[in-house]
Symmetry: C2
Subunit: 238 residues, 2 copies
DNA sequence: CGAATAGTTGATGTATCTCAAGCAGGGTGG
DNA sequence: CCACCCTGCTTGAGATACATCAACTATTCG
């Protein structure tokens, strides 16, 4: 799933369990695919392009660690970041033979590069892929709501809440409401292009939230959230 | 794929070839699934809810004819239509056990209702599903660009161009540029909720396009496009 | 024919964008 | 070690695209 939390290469283990021990039983097959002689491991530093729009889509990437964004460009240069992916997420599965968007690392990342043929031959592989795709679609649906119907303030709140380690798309089920800290491993421009806003609006909204005590900036890219529920209430979702 | 063209229950055969004769060879298996004793055929009239957000997702729907929209609601009533689907498209494949959005018919439609177990057991089934999911994702990516980065005018132009029978997400490859006619089998409210606009803005933009001769209204829901390329140039995509 | 519903148009408001200047932090070289 | 520069971020003033509110018009259906 395109969990945004933990997508940023935070120290510590990813939320989701290692693939081999997932309960569905399908992962044994997936592990075999990962072990295929054609499967490679690749490391890339931050802000490197994994593939470009139009490149042939003959392989598929699983993120081991780090984070990747997928974006599309309009001819006049406008950009929309369409997905942000983290450990365990799959990308490179395009509809046709060519990629429909650019994939770029946000931070230094590691991938397992899987040959498309390997992935598509086994039921287990197909099932694992289908599962990832469904998660991706749910995230894209949620993001369409954000882009189509939420205010700038709601967008930023939604974004920050999703970056909190340990919470995905789900509702505010946090019982403790303990202060959380998030690392925004994205530039303001990237955040703006993800949220369908301008850099200035993102900056203004964050400044405003700081003034209201909803956020405390520990560093430029590091925010403390004293009251997660308060921020959660600003997302428009509850 | 979430082709918008032909999604509206137009008379005539859908663009895509009948499932059995697709060249990939996977469809024999899919046909078997469709022939499963558990598979049912269902008909619904327009504006009926197929399933609601939160309903258990234990089956999967293939559209035989007609059109369906998927939408999500915010607690305060704001709505975002996240997908519009037509013949051949699959829906009901949610990430978890519950549906993440509402599915409602736009026009009278027919479905094949497939048991989730049937669909997920065969490689062919999985592959067919994965293919549909990838197409869906490509459409969602394109739609994120529309919602995040396009002006009202570009959104409406993009929408109308996609409704033209025979053209999907692809570029303007039309050599003839023959006048096309589209049927908008959606209310202004539905269009607005799909494009992330208000009903008034959609109405104003269409009126403006009519005044400029880009559109001719043959009926409320029926538009003639004298110069498709001219409209295409307004989409922001080329 | 008339009510009900869906769509259009106008006047006004406002959230967000645009343009422009100033500021901070992090790295480099003197 | 500190001044300097570069890049990314913030803040302000003004413009604008779209939303909102409200009236009016067309269409549909009994």
């Amino acid at each position: 799933m395109a969990y945004l939390n933990h997508a940023m290469g935070e120290a510590g283990a990813p939320v989701r369990a290692p693939i081999a021990v997932r309960p569905t039983g399908e992962q044994i097959g997936w592990d075999e695919i990962l072990a295929s002689p054609r499967t490679r491991t690749v490391r890339m530093s931050e802000h490197e392009i994994v593939y470009d729009e139009g490149d042939v889509a003959d392989r598929l990437y699983e993120i081991s660690d780090g984070a990747v964004m997928l974006y599309k460009l309009l001819p006049d240069g406008r950009r929309q970041v369409v997905e942000i992916l983290g450990p365990g997420d799959l990308f490179g599965l395009s509809a046709g033979d060519a990629h429909d968007c650019v994939a770029e690392t946000l931070v230094a990342s590691g991938f397992r590069v899987i040959d498309r043929r390997d992935a598509e031959t086994s039921v287990a592989g197909q099932r694992h892929i289908a599962r990832c795709l469904r998660d991706q679609i749910a995230t894209l649906h949620e993001h369409a709501v954000l882009l189509g119907r939420k205010s700038a303030c709601e967008r930023v709140a939604t974004f920050i809440v999703r970056m909190v380690p340990g919470r995905g798309l789900g509702r505010c089920i946090d019982r403790t409401n303990a202060p959380a800290t998030v690392r925004l491993a994205m530039t303001r421009q990237e955040i703006a292009d993800y949220l369908g806003l301008t850099i200035e609006t993102v900056s203004r909204v964050i400044s405003d939230m700081r003034r209201r005590g909803l956020l405390v900036a520990e560093r430029q890219d590091r925010l403390r959230i004293p009251d997660l529920c308060a921020l959660c209430r600003m997302t428009g979702a509850h």
